[in-house]
């Protein structure tokens, strides 16, 4: 075994440039695999976290009949006296914050320009809405008693050429099925760095939204943040009630979760393409080595080395190439992922996919399970790629190999 490694190591050193290039191919493949996997995981992890902190929370309490897709404002579809439900939720030790929201569909217009948007009535003082306060880039955040002010996202402000202090016309559906219209002043412009959310979401104080939408003391949902995301299921189970439905973040972000799985399957194809190219390089290197060493294979065979052992010699070379390449790739891929994971990778503003809140920046993220599986895959594919040349060497007839030029 020791001799096998010694020979393989020295054989790789015979054509250093070729061996280095082959190991580099494995390295680059491993680097790419790790980085691509981390980008995809980071993208969907980010999208899930965006969904949770902006839209769904860890838990949502809704009226049993509330249909999210219809954005119903009918009183029977809403939570009556949301403050009471909110206070009860806040009593739970697992709950970080709970806050009511009223959601209505509307149209924002200025002059000839108009755009369909989602209007959300929020409690400006709630901890869960701190993210919007911190995201204010112009003007001020809302106050609970503001009756004329709204907060709009930066992309929407840019689209309409609006600044803090400007006025716009807002039209929304009301609980009785009519529409109501009012001129509002832009108190502030915010960004959450999630383009599709910021472009389509306008905030106003909950009390004003309730009045504007004729929803009185009702809310569409109670947005709940927990201290620990993993507590969502047990807390939801404990809150079961016939009047309300309790949805967890995994129910509410099902699309993100499913899309991540779909993307994962799609990425496997890309991984295989990358590894296929690498495998070709490794195969080529070893096939060249086999032809260059045909006579030596003949000598080894003549002195009694069996095909299986000749095969092992070439597989050992491939294993050494793979080990060097994979270690290099792990280091490089790890460094790139760690750096980009820290500073983020800006992507063009996009509407993304409906229901998935992809941010303006992706922060690559990789799990140790990903690293292990990708490393093993790169390693195994390299070894598989070496099977053909190793078999070629093992099957050489000694007499023919000895007469090779």
């Amino acid at each position: 075994m020791n001799q096998l490694f010694k020979m393989a190591f020295r054989d790789l050193g015979r054509n250093k440039r070729r061996s280095i290039l082959s190991a580099l191919a494995v390295s680059m493949a491993t680097t790419l695999l790790i980085f691509m996997a981390s980008v995809v995981r980071g993208e969907f992890r980010g999208a899930l976290q965006n969904g949770i902190r902006l839209q769904t929370g860890h838990l949502q309490v809704r009226a049993a009949s509330y249909d999210e897709n219809k954005v119903s404002l009918a009183w029977e579809d809403l939570i009556d006296n949301p403050a009471q439900v909110t206070d009860e939720l806040k009593e739970l030790p697992q709950v970080l914050d709970a806050t009511p929201r009223l959601i209505a569909s509307g149209i924002i217009s200025l002059g000839d320009h108009s755009r369909g948007i989602q209007v959300i009535g929020i409690d400006p003082a709630a901890k869960a809405n701190e993210i919007f306060r911190q995201g204010v880039i112009a003007g001020d955040f809302l106050t609970s008693d503001d009756r004329e002010g709204i907060l709009i996202g930066n992309p929407l402000a840019e689209r309409f050429g609006l600044n803090a202090g400007d006025q716009v016309n807002l039209l929304i559906n009301t609980s009785n099925g009519d529409v109501d219209e009012q001129v509002f002043t832009i108190r502030g412009i915010y960004t959450t760095n999630v383009f599709p959310y910021d472009e389509n979401t306008v905030f106003m104080p909950l009390a004003k939204a309730q009045t504007f939408a004729s929803a009185e003391n009702h809310a569409s949902l109670i947005f709940v943040l927990l201290n620990d995301q993993d507590q969502a299921e047990p807390v939801a189970a404990a809150l079961t009630s016939s009047d309300y439905k309790i949805l967890t973040w995994s129910d509410l972000n099902e699309l993100s979760v499913q899309f991540e799985q779909f993307a994962g399957a799609y990425m496997v194809i890309l991984y295989l393409i990358i590894l296929g190219i690498t495998a070709t390089v490794v195969t080529n290197t070893l096939v060249m080595a086999v032809y260059e060493r045909t006579r030596e294979i003949g000598i080894l065979s003549a002195i009694g080395m069996k095909g299986r052992r000749i095969m092992s010699a070439f597989l050992t070379e491939a294993a050494l190439l793979a080990t060097g390449g994979v270690i290099g790739g792990l280091v490089l891929g790890g460094l790139i992922t760690a750096y980009v994971g820290k500073v983020g990778m800006t992507i063009p503003a996009t509407q993304g996919i409906t229901g998935i809140l992809i941010g303006d920046k992706i922060f690559p993220y990789i799990t140790s399970a990903d690293v292990i599986s990708l490393t093993l895959t790169a390693y195994v594919i390299t070894l598989i790629a070496s099977l053909y040349p190793a078999t070629l060497a093992a099957r050489m007839e000694p007499v023919e190999a000895l007469h090779a030029q």
Binding site: Q3, K6, M7, R10, D11, G13, R14, R295, E296, I299, L300, S301, A302, I303, G304, M305, K306, G307, R308, R309, E397, P398, V399, L402
Partner: protein, 230 residues
């Protein structure tokens, strides 16, 4: 006692549409301790015969016995097993593994044979000494002269204590002095250890060392002179 016996062996090669009859019914018996030369012009079949005796190739028809065992009935792996315990090879080109040192080259057949490390080391040192290269063990082939490389090949062939050593034109790529050195060593080892040598050559300086000369022409043995040692 017979080390090898060839019975009515033929070997045909087909290259494209053309069929060549390299051996056309050869019968040969080689006794233990012989120092036998296979001679003949190029294309006479001496290398082919050597390859059949060395189990590197299989006859198209006929039988080859090594140490009483019918090698034509063996599969590829069994032939490899038989080779590594019974037959040593010396080739015309200095057939050493270039990445291994002289010591490691001599050690290789012992490794394949499963010889224990301490015994292996002693045997390698003994063989290197026998060919006068005790001080060259750590040199790689490219650091040795042609003659020295061929002596390492002799040491490697002898390391496993084979029944027979087959040498194909062992001096063809050596100058007179180195060729003589190699032949002297082979003759000496034949005398001292009793190992059988069979070598293919058309070098008259080599032929004179042989105790038996077998002449081939057109795939047939046409002359068989000399005797087996008693």
């Amino acid at each position: 006692m017979e080390v090898t016996k060839v019975i009515n062996a033929t070997r045909d090669f087909k290259i494209g549409e053309m069929e060549t009859h390299a051996l056309r019914g050869v019968n040969l018996s080689i006794e233990n301790g012989e120092f036998t030369a296979l001679v003949g012009p190029s294309g006479s079949g001496k290398t082919t015969l050597l390859q059949l005796i060395g189990l590197l190739d299989q006859p198209t028809s006929g039988q080859v016995f090594i140490n009483g065992q019918d090698a034509t009935r063996l599969n590829r792996n069994q032939r490899a097993d038989l080779r590594k315990g019974t037959i040593g090879f010396i080739f015309q080109f200095f057939a050493l593994i270039p990445t291994l040192t002289a010591y490691e080259n001599v050690e290789m057949p012992l490794l394949l044979n499963g010889t224990k490390p301490a015994e292996r080391k002693a045997r390698v040192l003994e063989m290197l000494e026998a060919v006068g290269l005790s001080d060259r063990g750590h040199h790689r082939p490219d650091q040795l002269s042609g003659g020295q490389q061929q002596r390492v090949a002799v040491a490697r062939a002898l390391a496993i204590n084979p029944k027979v050593i087959l040498a194909d034109e062992p001096t063809a790529n050596l100058d007179t002095e180195n060729g003589k050195q190699v032949m002297d060593i082979m003759a000496k080892l034949n005398k001292e250890t009793g190992v059988t040598f069979v070598f293919a050559t058309h070098d008259p300086r080599v032929i004179k060392y042989a105790s038996r000369v077998i002449t081939l022409r057109d795939g047939l043995i046409v002359e068989n002179n000399g005797s087996s040692p008693k």
